[in-house]
Point group: C2
Chain length 346, copies 2
Amino acid sequence: MELTDRKKEILKLVIEQYISAAEPVGSKAIAREMGVSSATIRNEMAELAELGYLEQPHTSAGRVPSPKGYRLYVNELMEQRALSLQETEEINSALQLRMQELDSVLAKAGQVVSSIVRYPAYAIVAGSGGGVRQFNLLPVDLGSFIAVVMTDDGRVKSQLLHTEVDVTGEDLAALTALLNDRFIQLTPQEMGARLMEAVLPPGQFMALSKTIGYAGDILADSVQVYTAGTKNILKLPEFRDADKAHELMSLFTEGQDLLPAPVNGAGMQVLIGPENVNEALKDTSVVMASYDIGEHMRGLIGVVGPTRMDYASVAARLSYFAESLTRLFGQHSGELPPVKETKENE
Amino acid sequence: MELTDRKKEILKLVIEQYISAAEPVGSKAIAREMGVSSATIRNEMAELAELGYLEQPHTSAGRVPSPKGYRLYVNELMEQRALSLQETEEINSALQLRMQELDSVLAKAGQVVSSIVRYPAYAIVAGSGGGVRQFNLLPVDLGSFIAVVMTDDGRVKSQLLHTEVDVTGEDLAALTALLNDRFIQLTPQEMGARLMEAVLPPGQFMALSKTIGYAGDILADSVQVYTAGTKNILKLPEFRDADKAHELMSLFTEGQDLLPAPVNGAGMQVLIGPENVNEALKDTSVVMASYDIGEHMRGLIGVVGPTRMDYASVAARLSYFAESLTRLFGQHSGELPPVKETKENE
DNA sequence: CTTTAGCACTCGCTTCCCCGGAGTGCTAAG
DNA sequence: CTTAGCACTCCGGGGAAGCGAGTGCTAAAG
């Protein structure tokens, strides 16, 4: 049972007005926009309310959109709101930063999105899992060395490790060869198992074991979450109550793994109020966009706001941003060698 | 002009009561604790107010400590409040984490402190400046390589870099030698200058230049700030006003370099309300402790709270924490070779 | 000279009430 | 189907009143 065009028009106006004013909207305001009398609008609104698209906080206040109403709006009614020149420039220049660590790009991405849309944002990268693609152990002095680990998903990490027993440069070279020969592309558990089988002099064994422990740590945090702009919620009337704000902030700082991720690879997704599984998000909405990082990883960037969030604007900005990121990572990571069979060192 | 012992006792009680209740304290409550009549206390409190140690929000409300009062309290009156067994354990176990990246230890430190004292906390490391101690370039494939940089202050960073021109393993080995010979312990500017002088085949030159750019970036962010627990302020009555909270949070997320650092190497320092230079901190207090990281760096950990913050408790926890950190870094970094003249690779 | 009891006074906070205004639903007429 | 009119509802703001915690002062007691 389709709504008439006029009902949709009214719904759209109500939502947009409510989004910008955060107060129940009355029939008069709509009537003014549409050139009919307020009574007409009242009748229409009463029907929309009966159908579940609008709600009234109490008899004789204006109407407020229901989640169902927002859903219709997001699916059919809203028009992508174009970005201002300034905004596209802001995004572009933010992405100009030298492709440093993947981490920092994503942390930055969260910040930029958040500062543009004025809602808290989060970014998630899910590595393709996988194992280590390449090891290198570098001598520093006899008691310590640098372990460099490159993973299948293209991350490079390094750390200074210490052994209680002396280890020479030759020891490390031998270990590097061993690692690249027998410890490549394994899960941490498998690496642990192979470690047990290894028979080596104590110094080498210790270095090997520390390196593998380190690699395990790296593989373990293949899912990382960056959040930004949480403080923005304090400017929203729906979070005037400090406790509400606190609850949502806790989700951002402590329950990051509870933040929603899109069900499948769908480009852009919107979760409205109660559509959220997470209890703490029941009366907030989330807009998410995903993008590719090279060929083996997928990133997600999401924005959390009140159900009254400006979907049109957020969606437009987010999708532009996600496209830019895909393009950015396409360029650089395209140069990465294919994952398989490309060990050429030692 | 010294205060009498009884006046000090009263001041102490007033402050402690105000700290825990956040409401002006009246003479009756104090009288109950001291076994004299409320009238006596009233007289004493009137004098304390006259001397500037107490203030009254308006005639006929209780008294509230003034910054001057807090100052006296911090300097003379408060007694270090012992940590509960549980708290020491919490701190110890938090520090048990494998000495991964220095960054993560400090980020963690901020979080732990913040969660213990229930105020926002921040951690700063100031590197000793210095330059790069050791370079390593590792082959990945012909178009890309890994640059590993270890700085004088003991940080190890690495990143995948791309060249548009092919670079072989031999090229990289040669460059590594060159770097460790001529680009060690320089400022980014000096490195740039030497790069200009270098005469090399294009592939090598490009790799060299990218590496140096990368090293420059690393040296540039030798001062890092980690913040944690900002949301804790939302639980405090003095930040019920969302705007106040927002302002302070902005300082934490955007104005991190404005956070106070101790004037000299003094172990523990307290800034009370207007003693803060920063406008946004004028009615908050800051407790800071510093600690050594190895022999070449110094770290700072600070807690921000309302002037009514629980100085005794925070100071005790912070100093315990700082001592633990010093001990922790002493152990590990003690094994680092002295900075000078210890290049032994190539 | 200090302490204490007593008392009048101040002042912020809460509660209650009243009222205006915005908005509604309904009815009846165009 | 639209519109004007009207009675009704209910939120929110603005006093007014009362309460209670606390003060300053005075005078008496130790």
